[in-house]
């Protein structure tokens, strides 16, 4: 590539094809994130448990199936409509355990506090986190605190690690989806990501959208108790949205998927906010819904079960797993056309065009 000679002499020495450092896109849950994992972390730590890349790691310890999951929370703003970083950090890890069929038994919480964070704000977040944990219920049994200089940590970062016990007979895993499965979603999508976007400087808009941040174990438990190992896969579509989560399962299970555009539940204001900014709801983050893949003959009963619970009131069957086009997720539009739903390289960006 030619060097750029500009009046002020800046030269950008690295070719665009091989970035030499971490970019924001590496945290977005899309292709860059996957590459970071595959190319940098897995080779270093490789072991069969990690390689399964489930939402939580499942290990047989003295005959008991234990699940461990860890998640770090760096959301900004710290407090947003429908939640805050505290409650989010409880829900996120409890949900990762739930996605592997595990009942949460304990959480740890590590805090990185920025010098200058007002106690008033910290106290609110602690109270919210305690309330979220009690509601599951799961005790926060151990923790750690560090303080960093002003200017780092955006106020506060939290890491939670959860320990869970797998429900006997439950074995949801990303590589167990099968042709003939129905794809269900437990509620309307796009709320968390748009609630955050509405608060962002430069993008701000007014809306009634609230984050859907919620602990999902109370909804997952009855589903697993009723259908056991027939629940082939569970995934909570957080960063990267429904599109990324389904692509991960399609890749791990080596199956194709077909989604029906008209069946995907999207709240009006979420759709409107996405229209305004040029975003696709399928890529917007969620923190209180999950995807379930199970045999088609059980789908209607599973749907009824989800809908009978307040957290699952908006549940819907949104698609099916097929043998054609393995690893591709296809969307059927209302007009009868089709398109591929691929993962994005990095974050989805608002557009004018």
């Amino acid at each position: 590539m030619t060097s750029v000679k500009l009046a002020a002499g800046l030269v950008c020495p690295v070719p665009a094809n091989a970035p030499d450092r971490v970019q924001l896109g590496h945290g977005s849950g899309g292709k860059l994130s996957a590459a970071l994992l595959q190319e940098r972390f897995l080779p270093g730590f490789g072991n069969p448990v990690l390689a399964a890349l489930g939402d939580a790691a499942v290990m047989d310890v003295a005959g008991v199936e234990l699940a461990i999951s860890t998640d770090s929370f760096v959301v900004s703003p710290l407090e947003f409509p429908g939640g805050d970083i505290g409650s989010l950090s409880v829900h996120g890890t409890v949900n990762d355990l739930a996605m592997m069929g595990a009942r949460p038994v304990g959480l740890s919480a590590g805090y990185i506090l920025e010098e200058g964070l007002p106690f008033e704000r910290l106290d609110r977040i602690i109270a919210s986190m305690a309330a979220a944990a009690r509601a599951v219920p799961v005790p926060i049994v151990t923790g750690d605190t560090k303080v960093v200089e002003r200017g780092k940590a955006d106020g506060l970062y939290i890491n939670t690690t959860g320990l869970g016990v797998r429900l006997p007979g439950a074995a949801p895993a990303p590589d167990r989806a099968q042709a003939g499965d129905a794809i269900l979603v437990s509620g309307p999508i796009g709320r968390h990501g748009m609630a955050i976007m509405a608060a962002r400087e430069g993008m701000a808009f007014e809306s009634s959208i609230e984050s859907d941040s919620a602990a999902l174990w109370p909804l997952v438990q009855p589903l697993l108790e009723q259908f056991g190992a027939e629940v082939h896969a569970l995934r909570d579509p957080t960063r990267g949205g429904v599109a990324s989560a389904l692509n991960e399962i399609a890749a791990a299970s080596e199956v194709g998927m077909v989604l029906e555009e008209g069946a995907i539940p999207i709240p009006g204001p979420v759709a409107a906010g996405c229209e305004m900014l040029g975003l696709d709801p399928l890529y917007v983050a969620n923190e209180g819904v999950f995807l379930a893949l199970l045999p088609r003959r059980l789908a209607v009963r599973a749907l009824a079960l989800l809908r009978s619970h307040p957290l699952g009131a908006g549940a819907a069957i949104i698609g099916r797993v097929v043998t054609t086009h393995p690893k591709f997720v296809i969307l059927e539009t209302g007009l009868g056309g089709t398109r591929i739903v691929d993962t994005l390289p990095g974050d989805q960006l608002p557009r004018i065009c």
Partner: protein, 371 residues
């Protein structure tokens, strides 16, 4: 959403598809000018549904795609300066310059912020008086009034730390350049509905008459595009070549006069290079002398530079409509959204990205099926 959802009605859309199929006695070649229209066509699979009756060629209506390499490089330079907060629409962030893109400049410590409106950038300047705020003023005639207002307002309010890097282009000269090209196959056009909302449609009348091509001013939803295609096909079947307005709910013949007036006051026509096409005289907008103080190229002393495109990138052929993205040897192999060779693969409006992200998997190259 009112005045949006109705234009996605599947029954109405299917009715139009039947009409088009019944009306066309041969396969006509049409071009939709605007990237937003390309987006809808590929996202809804409309060209698949119209296979026999119409071939849609995707035009250069993506201001992101046609922004010349030099302007991207200037943007990268400005964004790297520690005294500058560089603001831009989201579309531009992943467009590759000669060596990197705005996202990588941000990773290196450059202050790069996405804004929804140019007025947000102006507000940022007012809130950060100790920094220079530069706004990347890209777009067609649709966006020019918004960018003009930001500059006009900055001058009126005396916001001295605000400036714009201009890369505006206008549609009619590009259409003429395409029509003059010896390998042109386009027989009719869907003109860009929001460009015409501002500009009206009178500029297209001499083009329709001279080159004998129907031009239908068209909106962006599936029903709009299908109706636009239907009207164009009907004209072609009847041997007419007029300017028709499909997008009546937004477009009037005179356009939005106050917007045109302010654009005229702040900007002037200049020669502009279109990435992949080359220089088209009087096809761009630049700031007038009275607003030179707000021109980032002058304020930061960015000289004129020439850049070469990577040879494998066939963006030019794609933008001129002579090559479909799937026919390009680099498509899906060495050129993908994660490592694009050119802008049409990065911009969500670019024909290449549209095909890659929404395209039919059975037409994709085998190597493009896995990442």
């Amino acid at each position: 959403m009112k005045y949006l959802s109705e234009y996605r009605d599947p029954k109405v859309a299917r009715g139009l598809i039947s009409r088009i199929a019944e009306t066309a006695t041969r396969r006509w070649v049409l071009m939709e000018v605007c990237g937003g229209q390309t987006h809808t066509i590929v996202k809804q699979g409309l060209d698949e549904l119209l296979e026999g009756a119409v071939e849609m060629i995707h035009g250069p209506g993506c201001p992101v795609c046609v922004t010349p390499l030099e302007q991207i490089d200037k943007a990268l330079h400005l964004a790297s300066r520690p005294d500058v907060i560089f603001t831009s629409f989201g579309d531009m962030l992943r467009v590759p310059g000669s060596e990197c893109d705005l996202l990588q400049v941000r990773a290196r410590g450059g202050q790069v912020r996405v804004v929804y409106s140019p007025l947000d950038a102006l507000e940022l300047a007012q809130r950060n008086p100790d920094r220079q705020v530069v706004f990347f003023a890209v777009g067609f005639e649709t966006t020019a009034p918004a960018n003009a207002m930001a500059v006009w307002r900055a001058k009126e309010l005396g916001v001295r730390n605000f400036s714009v890097l201009v890369s505006h282009v206008t549609v009619p000269p590009a259409m003429v350049a395409l029509l003059e090209s010896p390998d042109n196959r386009v027989q009719g056009f869907l003109a860009a509905g929001h460009v015409c909302t501002i500009m009206g449609w009178s500029e297209y009348e001499p083009i329709a008459a001279k080159y004998k091509v129907p031009i239908v001013v068209t909106g962006f939803e599936p029903v709009d595009i299908l109706e636009g295609i239907y009207l164009a096909v009907r004209q072609l079947e009847e041997g007419r070549h007029e300017v028709e307005n499909q997008y009546v709910r937004s477009v009037r013949r005179e356009g939005t006069v106050p917007a045109r007036n302010l654009v005229e006051q702040v900007f002037q026509l200049v020669d502009r290079k279109w990435r992949g096409i080359g220089e088209i005289p009087r096809s761009g907008l630049g700031l007038r002398a009275e607003y030179a103080d707000f021109d980032a190229e002058i304020r930061f002393g960015l000289g004129a530079i020439e850049q070469e495109e990577p040879t494998e990138c066939r963006a030019g052929d794609v933008l001129r409509g002579v090559l479909k993205p799937v026919q390009c040897p680099a498509f899906g192999t060495i050129c993908t959204p994660e490592h694009p060779l050119g802008a049409p693969m990065v911009s969500s409006e670019g024909a290449c990205a549209a095909y890659y992200n929404y395209g039919r998997f059975r037409k994709a190259q085998p190597a493009g099926a896995t990442t």
